[in-house]
């Protein structure tokens, strides 16, 4: 019994240490994006939810200039960090989501990104994109029912200095 005590004490100490949360270091970010999955159809207009960024107050009107629909309903939305050295997933829905890999600041402002648009486990398109503030990206996705699923991506914040 006497010989077993130190081992028991060590085991207890290890268990106690494992219970304590380890310090978390927040990964470096290059910016922040807002992504939304939208169902576009022909019908009466609907109000946009409060989560829509202020500079997209007229999102429905702007979408209507590109897509032949009158009703734009936000199915899901997600504001996500753009990590500097790691992939960022923007997931407003399990059906359609976006993966971003930052390549750093872009000349003239914005962030260089490798952007992938996914549908469940299938990548639909891969792009090299310079995403800029106040300049959303509208992605025309698959048809669904009488309308179409759209994805909107907006760079809401840049954490890296502009490259001239």
């Amino acid at each position: 019994m006497r010989l077993a005590l130190p081992f028991l004490f060590a085991a207890f100490a290890l268990t106690a240490m494992a219970q304590e949360p380890l310090p978390v270091t927040k990964p470096a970010t290059d910016g922040k994006v807002w992504g939304a999955l939208i169902y576009a159809s022909k019908g009466e207009e609907v109000d946009l939810p409060d989560e829509v960024p202020d500079n997209l107050d007229d999102l429905s009107e702007r979408l209507a200039k590109v897509f032949p629909f009158t009703r734009f309903e936000i199915v899901g939305q997600h504001t996500q960090d753009i990590f500097r050295q790691y992939e960022s997933w923007v997931v407003p829905s399990k059906d359609l989501f976006v993966k971003l890999d930052s390549k750093g600041p872009a000349v003239g402002g914005g962030i260089n990104l490798n952007l992938q648009f996914w549908r469940e486990q299938q990548v639909l398109v891969k792009t090299d994109t310079v995403l800029r503030e106040d300049s959303p990206l509208f992605i025309g996705g698959p048809k669904w029912r009488e309308g179409r699923l759209l994805f909107v991506l907006l760079l809401t914040k840049v954490d890296v200095p502009e490259v001239k």
Partner: protein, 208 residues
């Protein structure tokens, strides 16, 4: 007798190149062979006609003859070009004015585009696209009306109409690089779903 050999003998006979023995033998053959004799007469007659039309000897022009003829041709050509250029030149240079007008229009258009861009700000750019699925076409353009850049995907398979497309209103998310996982939270802290990538970097969205 070999016909080719007869032709050779005949040609040499016409040119007076047969040796004495060959000539004696060929003359005997001409006497005995009427067809050969007739052919020889035809060839002789043709030869005489050609010789009378073209002199055997012609004096070769000296070098100055060629140089002076070439220079004369060059002078005549230049004179003709000068005459044509003078006739074609209009009093008023419409050709130059057309280019000036085009350049001015380009400058004005470029100024308008630059001014408009200053109003809108630098736009998002999609520089390259790749759609792995054949039949899917990706095209991009910038819409000034929408003040947005558009990535249009045509040819995608439609989502079945009976499928319920579920969206998340994500308040915040946490990414754990150690386990390659992104957890999505609602405003009240409920886990909406988890996106995890497997060893093949395939994403899986797991929900309750």
């Amino acid at each position: 007798m070999n016909p080719n050999h007869d032709e050779e003998l005949l040609a040499r006979w016409l040119d007076n190149e047969l040796s004495a023995d060959e000539r004696a033998s060929f003359d005997a053959r001409l006497t005995a062979d009427a067809a050969l004799r007739r052919e020889a007469e035809i060839m002789q007659s043709l030869r005489n006609s050609l010789q009378s039309a073209f002199p055997r000897h012609t004096e070769v022009p000296h070098a100055d003859f060629f140089n002076s003829r070439i220079q004369q041709s060059i002078d005549e050509l230049r004179a003709e070009e000068a005459r044509n250029a003078a006739a074609a030149r209009p009093r008023f240079n419409w050709h130059g004015l057309r280019w000036f007008a085009l350049a001015a229009a380009c400058l004005v258009l470029g100024g308008v585009v630059w001014f408009w861009q200053q109003q809108e700000g630098p736009a998002t750019i999609v520089m390259a696209t790749y759609a792995p699925h054949t039949g899917v076409k990706a095209s991009t353009f910038h819409s000034s009306d929408a003040r947005a850049t558009v990535l249009m995907l045509d040819g995608l398979e439609a989502v079945p109409p009976d499928r319920k497309v579920v969206g998340y209103h994500v308040d915040h998310s946490e990414t754990d690089r150690q386990v390659a996982m992104t957890t999505l939270f609602s405003t009240n802290g409920t886990v909406l779903g988890v996106l995890a990538t497997d060893a093949g970097n395939q994403p899986h969205v797991i929900t309750h």
